[in-house]
């Protein structure tokens, strides 16, 4: 891909990122932060690709460490977001549809 193509993807994603959360209600600020945090755990994909294409032991060690850290970020991030939202649902008992 050319540099311009990367720049296009980047700029469009910036606008999308602003747009997609622009109407968030303030009680959801923390879960949204946590969810976004889990999403950037996708660096795990980068860590796998970088580790899987090296033969050098130093790079392999750094790469494996990166995989462990990225997995903690991704798996832990989604799990903690879900728990956060789970305890949200109970005290607030929102509008119908969500039976007892």
């Amino acid at each position: 891909m050319s540099s311009t193509a990367w720049l296009t993807v980047f700029v469009l994603a910036v606008f999308l990122g602003f747009e997609v959360i622009s109407k968030v209600s303030s009680i959801l600020h923390t879960p949204l932060m946590s969810g976004a945090n889990a999403i950037h755990g996708v660096i795990l994909v980068g860590a796998i690709i970088a580790t899987g294409s090296t033969d050098d032991n130093v790079q392999l060690t750094i790469g494996l460490l990166a995989i462990v850290m990225a997995t903690v970020n991704m798996v832990g991030g989604f799990a903690v977001t879900d728990r956060m939202l789970g305890m949200f649902a109970k005290p607030r008992q929102p509008r119908g549809g969500d039976g007892p």
Binding site: M1, W6, V9, F10, A13, V14, F15, G17, I21, K23, V24, S25, L28, H29, T30, P31, L32, M33, G35, A36, N37, A38, I39, H40, G41, V42, I43, L44, V45, G46, A47, I48, I49, A50, T51, G52, S53, T54, Q59, I62, G63, L64, L65, A66, I67, V68, M69, T71, V72, N73, M74, V75, G76, G77, A79, V80, T81, D82, R83, M84
Partner: protein
């Protein structure tokens, strides 16, 4: 999985992340949004694991198992009140992982050091700098919220000038990495950025810490995008940029909800010392 299929699967994962953020913006769809995001992430990891000619598959899967064994129980068992600092910790390891990925790419013989394009080296320098700041900064926010250290602003004597000095040193090492790439300079850059991350967060008071976590979260998103550029992976660029942009906006909204201007939060302690010194 080969070329076109892998790219299509990455595209689906990217769409899942967009839907996840969208879902998380409304109470009724928030849990579904998290689920969609997790499915997208799982799909992306499976695609990455089936990359053709991937070496060390056993070790990689082992590392993923170790990471899951650390992350999942921690997230399940943490007390409700301790969740914000756990998010900070997860964010920190994510930023650290991005910096490590960039350093692997930098150390790759014949790829980074001699032949790399200027833009690649610039992206690597950016990732190590900002990823390092995010890592150490998040650890300090964790320590503050966990009350492992004082939650009050810590202001070192002449702290402002030391912080500015480390910031300048970090940016200069990242910039010099482009014309003079060397392992020594990369190590220096990593160390300076770690110290700067600590200095950056120390003066922030307890109540403002969540805002700083959100800001560091946006930082990590941008480092993920930059390392995606280095690796030539569209999904990382899209996901990282989404988090970087939405995280920046979210930081501003959080600051506004608390009635704190963002600059006041970040530089409040500096201004406080200045006025205390005057008064």
């Amino acid at each position: 999985m080969t070329g076109a299929w892998a790219d299509t699967a990455y595209l689906i994962a990217g769409v899942c992340f967009i839907l996840a953020l969208k879902g998380l913006s409304a109470p009724r769809t928030a849990r579904l949004g998290t689920l969609i995001g997790a499915c997208g992430a799982a799909l992306a990891v499976i695609v990455a694991l089936t990359t053709p000619h991937l070496k060390h598959l056993g070790l990689i899967i082992g590392a993923i198992v170790v990471g899951t064994a650390i992350g999942l129980p921690t997230a399940r068992q943490v007390r409700m009140t301790a969740m914000p600092q756990l998010v900070a910790l997860f964010n920190g390891v994510g930023g650290g992982a991005a910096a490590l990925v960039a350093s692997v790419e930098f150390l790759r013989p014949g790829n980074a050091i001699s032949d790399a394009a200027t833009a690649d080296l610039a992206a690597i320098g950016f990732t190590i700098l900002v990823g390092g700041v995010s890592f150490s900064g998040s650890l300090i926010t964790f320590a503050k919220l966990q009350e492992l250290m004082t939650t009050r602003p810590v202001v070192l004597p002449a702290g402002r000038w030391i912080t500015i000095g480390f910031a300048a040193a970090g940016v200069l090492s990242a910039v010099f990495l482009v014309p003079w790439p060397s392992t020594a300079l990369m190590t220096l850059l990593a160390l300076v950025s770690l110290v700067f991350g600590v200095l950056f967060v120390l003066p922030v008071g307890g109540a403002d810490v969540p805002i700083v976590i959100s800001l560091l979260n946006a930082f990590t998103g941008l480092t993920v995008a930059a390392s995606g550029y280095v690796l030539g992976n569209t999904l990382l660029v899209i996901a990282g940029t989404l988090v970087g942009a939405s995280g920046t906006l979210l930081t501003r909204m959080m600051a506004a909800a608390m009635g704190r201007p963002l600059t006041g939060t970040l530089f409040g302690a500096f201004t406080a010392t200045a006025s205390a010194a005057v008064g």
